[in-house]
Amino acid sequence: MFRRLPEATGAPIPFTFDGREMVGRRGDTVAAALLAAGISVCRTMAVSGAPRGPYCMMGVCFDCLVTIDGAANRQGCLVLLVEGMRIKTQAGAPQAQAEEGAT
């Protein structure tokens, strides 16, 4: 869905997504690194089970929610990628509701 321009030569940053090894670049957010790696789905919805992927890339939509190093509900588009991050698809929302504060 996305490719990286040749001038984007930031240092490579290895991470895993659902156990698969991938490489992003310095300066990537988690969501950008996933898009660059060809991942377009990072969460599923509680009610319908529908897949979702990053929509706004600026913290508005929450469709980039993923689990990072065991912490659920992280907004992938706001978190900078760090070497060795273990990122996982976030399934459903029951857990999300228990974890989040009042709405």
Binding site: F2, L5, A8, S40, V41, M57, V60, A96, G101
Partner: protein
């Protein structure tokens, strides 16, 4: 500039807290600090610039022509800020701003709930400037939640911060200056765009020209025309689109559109939607600032005075969050708001405040010329604001359909807050950011009243999700508990 990298590094108290490090926030901080104000800038992004100047000092993009000179103008603002004595907290989320009540230990200070790297803290400030900017208007069409559908702004962010360009079959759709700017940037960056589906209503041309003859004298005219010409020359622009539909099972693989009553389909891997930007008002709404409906920009914006002070004493709102006026105006507005705050903090007198503001006001007046043309010309069609297709999801988070919203109005939900209670729309993590305007306009439409009368969600803190673990780890003073439990 003093960068705050850990929650412990914050001071307990600042004179002025600025939320947002876009042009308004950066300009406000640099000027306030110069007048001896102790400032902290709180920003969600990892580097300063906001959305318009996103990653301007860290972008991997080296060919300047791809993003254009308007983008690089941000370097100066960021450098001025970096050289200032302001504190700067990147990657920091503000989830609450609350005013102390007379009699409690806060006095008249504000208490600001922030999170940084999974840890929360409550800070105090005497004055607050909200420079939260804008977000893209909701674009509720069938299939807009499918993976593979993103906003044009999202693609621009991926390009600016990571040097990513769309690959495969790409279609852009909608209206507004940013749509054409992103198209031009993606073309320059080497993306191949199958088509740009322009949803600008044909009638907008006439209403814009007759309503705003001043546009001929506007600084936007030459720039806008050059952009339009470039895009029209280099790609297939299909105008007069009256309906759009994103199709696919688990992800997008087709976009269908209607034009002059005829339906056409295009294979498509990535669909970028955009129909203008609207002020980000979640924080000002939760603080209790009064807002008005803007019938031209079709959005709510906070009431502000000549110093961009809101109706809540001590809270000013600058930049696009005070009504869309663009990045250059945002910086001037930020500086005016900073002068207002420096005056209230007794760092400058009224004479100096007024003198220093005069050239900024002149600049704003110049930049405002022709703005109305853009607003009227790019006013999105009702068909794309009030979905007629029953299955279209209005609330993405709670998956509430247009049908449910319409039926609930019939059952007697006469405002957005009742709608929320009946259907859960607006109760997900995005807190109405992507359904609020749609819900207001759908109720308006069904009840044949004005959006001003229908109003918007009444938002409550926290305005961004904060985990129970973070709240539990806060220092448990009585005031702290109140701020969270309000």
């Amino acid at each position: 500039m003093k960068t705050i990298a850990a929650i412990e590094a914050f001071a307990d108290r600042y004179d002025l807290a600025i939320v947002g490090a876009g042009p308004a926030g950066l300009a406000a901080a640099s000027l306030a600090v110069a007048h001896g104000v102790d400032v902290v800038v709180l920003d969600e992004n990892a580097s300063p610039g906001g959305q318009i100047y996103r990653a301007v000092t860290s972008t991997p993009m080296t060919r300047r022509e791809i993003l254009g000179e308007d983008y690089w103008r941000g370097v100066e603002l960021v450098q001025e800020f970096s050289g200032s004595a302001s504190s700067y907290a990147p990657s920091t989320t503000v989830w609450n701003v609350a005013r102390g009540l007379d009699g409690d230990s806060l006095g008249r200070d504000f208490e600001i709930g922030v999170s940084l790297r999974g840890k929360a803290r409550l800070l105090r400030a005497k004055e607050v400037i909200l420079a939260t900017g804008a977000q893209e208007r909701p674009f509720p069409i069938p299939g807009w939640t499918l993976p593979g559908v993103m906003t044009a702004g999202a693609a621009q962010i991926a390009l600016k911060s990571s040097g990513l360009v769309p690959d495969g079959h790409l279609v852009l759709a909608g209206t507004g200056p940013l749509l054409y700017l992103v198209a031009a940037q993606l073309i320059e960056a080497g993306a191949s765009i199958r088509a740009l589906l322009d949803t600008t209503p044909r009638a907008n041309w006439m209403s814009a020209l007759t309503a705003t003859p001043g546009f001929l004298a506007s600084p936007y005219l030459a720039k806008g025309l050059a952009l339009l010409r470039m895009v029209h020359r280099r790609l297939d622009v299909v105008g007069g689109i009256t309906a759009l539909r994103a199709e696919g099972q688990k992800r997008l693989n087709r976009v269908a559109f209607e034009r002059a009553g005829r339906r056409t389909e295009l294979d498509c891997d990535l669909l970028l939607l955009h129909q203008g930007i609207v002020p980000s008002i979640n924080l000002s709404n939760a603080i209790g600032c009064a807002h008005d409906w803007d019938d031209v920009q079709l959005a709510f914006r906070p009431q502000v005075d000549a110093w961009f002070a809101s109706t809540v004493q001590g809270v000013a709102i600058a930049g696009d969050s005070a009504g869309i006026a663009g990045g250059e105006s945002a910086a001037a507005r930020g500086r005016i708001a900073a002068l207002g705050a420096a005056f209230r903090l007794e760092r400058i007198g009224a004479g100096q405040r007024d003198r220093d503001a005069a050239p900024l006001r002149a600049e704003l007046a110049l930049l405002a010329r022709g703005r109305r043309f853009l607003d009227v010309f790019h006013r999105p069609a009702k068909a794309f604001r009030v979905p007629s297709d029953d299955a279209t999801l209005v609330c993405r988070c709670e998956e509430v359909s247009a049908k449910t919203i319409r039926e609930t109005v019939m059952l007697g939900a006469c405002g957005p807050n009742q709608m929320k209670a009946f259907t859960r729309c607006g109760m997900g993590p995005c807190q109405g950011r992507l359904c609020g305007l749609t819900v207001t306009e759908m109720i308006t439409d069904a009840r044949a009243v004005s959006p001003a009368e229908v109003g918007y969600y009444r938002l409550r803190p926290p305005v961004k999700p904060v985990t129970l673990a973070e709240i539990a780890a806060l220092p448990q003073t009585a005031d702290a508990e109140k701020a969270v439990a309000r």
